[in-house]
């Protein structure tokens, strides 16, 4: 009975919080609406990082790459080829997924710490390519400005509130997908791989294939967040996709709680909402978050809000 309540309660709480978020444009000013939109976008990236890190157990510290691929795909197609923003979505998502699959395929066999170092390298190469104006398209260190606003059925989502609705709905869709993932065969399989590769492979699980799939899915979701990010900021530049951003995403998952939706959302809020809300403290965010990481890892290594036992047990 307790398990049943557990299964119903948590998603229910999530739905209520999400609905409460809908009131932000009604109750608060433009600044807060922007912060809420940014939270939605970063929550999607952090949740995507959690697929690879928290669920499949792979130390990917270059996740900003896939976020960036999505953002730049939209920025380039929109500003240089005049594609409507929505038309760039599938391209951004597929390109990011492809990058995830291709980059991870040769390295998923590596042990945790080695994989981590390789992904850091990938992130460094990615930022270097952006800074050097790759294919004369990425705009170098300044990035790309003047990204258009999305329009749905000819209706321009120009206002801050319209962007907010869009991002907030995308956020809800992501929550549903991740929630479903935890109750699916794929979610279980990733759990098996994370916790005992030998036992998993002797059950017939092709570990490499599933790890690449996890990377591709996670990258696709990050790419989706990237395209939302590009439209929200109306500009992209390499600074948003550097190694420290990857570290932040990594830390959000570890501090919040691996494989835990509420944990990751809490981590995202701490890292992206609190500094925005208290601008004067913004420069201390890495300081505060760094201390939080140390304290959490020592006192509560499973994260602030850990995954509940037997998530994924709901068959």
């Amino acid at each position: 009975m307790k398990a049943v309540l557990d299964g119903i309660n948590r998603p229910w709480i999530g739905a209520v919080l999400w609905l409460a978020g809908l009131a932000v444009p009604l109750a608060l000013d433009q600044t807060w609406m922007f912060i809420a939109s940014l939270f939605a976008v970063y929550a999607i990236v952090a949740l995507s990082q959690d697929i690879v890190l928290g669920r499949a157990g792979m130390f990917d510290m270059g996740h900003a790459v896939y976020f960036g691929v999505g953002a730049y795909a939209t920025a380039i197609l929109n500003t240089q080829f005049n594609w409507p923003i929505l038309a760039t979505w599938p391209v951004a998502v597929l390109l990011a997924a492809l990058a995830g699959a291709v980059l991870s395929a040769p390295i998923v066999k590596l042990r945790g710490d080695y994989l981590l170092v390789v992904t850091i390298g990938l992130n460094a190469i990615f930022v270097l390519a952006l800074n050097n104006n790759l294919a004369r398209m990425t705009g170098g260190p300044d990035g790309i400005f003047g990204i258009g606003v999305p329009s749905i059925f000819g209706w321009q989502l120009a206002s801050a509130s319209a962007q907010f609705w869009l991002d907030w709905v995308a956020f809800a869709a992501t929550l549903v997908l991740i929630h479903n993932l935890d109750r699916s065969h794929l979610g279980r399989t990733l759990y098996y791989i994370k916790h005992d590769q030998l036992a998993a492979t002797t059950m017939g699980i092709d570990i490499r294939a599933y790890k690449v799939l996890a990377f591709a899915l996670s990258a696709a979701l990050a790419g989706f967040a990237g395209t939302l990010f590009a439209a929200l900021m109306a500009a992209v530049s390499p600074g948003a996709f550097v190694f420290t951003e990857s570290v932040t995403l990594f830390a959000i998952v570890l501090v919040g709680g691996q494989g835990s939706i509420p944990g990751v959302l809490l981590g995202t809020a701490l890292m992206f909402v609190v500094p925005q809300a208290f601008r004067q403290f913004a420069e201390y965010r890495y300081f505060v978050f760094g201390i939080a990481m140390v304290v959490v890892m020592v006192l509560r290594p499973q994260g602030i809000w850990p995954r509940r036992r037997s998530a994924g047990a709901k068959a």
Partner: protein, 267 residues
């Protein structure tokens, strides 16, 4: 021997300077329970790891069900129909008994990843079917009451049974058990004997490593004894029990103080 389900032919593996298994040849026939015995460090678990693809042999050939599976990856060997348990229990801790057993249904799962993400009606039906299959097997091993319990909180003997359930639900052609009776009490060990015999009666061949001679002598049809990575004897339980090389391997030639309780209690 052409009817054999599993056949090892001159299989060997070397780790650096250590020849862990050498020139090992034996067969497991259809509907047969074969025991692999030998002193500690004889290479029994290594032999299992060779058969299940965890290690790749340096020499020899392993044939299963008419197919050469030498050097195959473990997941392909599982696909061919060999499932195993481990000497040191390897369950997915932090998850329920049910979720652990569902791992054994991996190859029988017919849902795609995107059906899972979208939670389509077909996927829900599939999940229900998998759960039912797992629950039926859990009931057979008297584990159904524990379906929602975290495996890490279960007693050792029950954990062994969960691991057995996970391998059995996969419907193996050959079940490999690495010391299934280790750590079990007499009652559990007797239940294990019955389960192994029942499994064989369903047409599943069993290959097991065991130190508990009660299990070995009572359930196996055929025993292979190895020492220092080499086969020293093979035959019926009666034959093995009185085989001088086997007795020497266990008791030593001169050292008469050392009497392993295993052989003693079985005789």
């Amino acid at each position: 021997m052409s009817a054999a389900l599993l056949e090892l032919d001159d299989v060997g593996i070397r780790f650096g300077g250590l020849q862990a298994v050498a020139n090992l040849s034996f067969a497991v026939g259809a509907n047969q329970i074969v025991g692999l015995i030998g002193p500690n460090g004889a290479g029994k678990t290594t032999a299992f790891n060779l058969i299940t693809g965890v290690y790749k042999p340096n020499a020899g050939r392993i044939t299963f069900d008419g197919t050469d599976i030498t050097g195959w990856a473990p997941h392909r060997i599982a696909r061919a129909g060999i499932f195993r348990t481990f000497q040191t229990i390897r369950l997915f801790n932090g998850q329920s008994v049910l979720v652990n057993v569902l791992a054994g249904l991996h190859l029988q799962t017919r849902q795609t990843w995107w059906q899972g993400l979208l939670r389509t009606p077909a996927q829900r039906r599939e999940e229900e079917r998998l759960r039912q299959t797992a629950m039926d097997l859990l009931a057979r091993l008297q584990l159904d009451q524990l379906a929602d319990t975290d495996v890490a909180s279960l007693p050792y003997g029950v954990q062994r049974r969960v691991e057995l359930a996970r391998a059995l639900v996969a419907r193996p052609k050959l079940l490999i058990l690495d010391e299934p009776a280790a750590g079990l009490n007499d009652h559990e060990s007797a239940a294990l004997n019955e389960t192994i015999l029942a499994v064989r009666d369903e047409g599943i061949s069993v290959l097991l490593v065991e130190h508990d001679m009660n299990v070995v002598m009572n359930v196996t049809d055929h025993i292979v004894c190895i020492n220092f990575g080499r086969k020293i004897a093979e035959g019926s339980p009666e034959h093995i029990r009185s085989h001088p090389d086997v007795i020497e391997a266990y008791l030593g030639k001169d050292d008469e103080d050392f009497l392993p309780p295993a052989i003693g209690s079985a005789a």
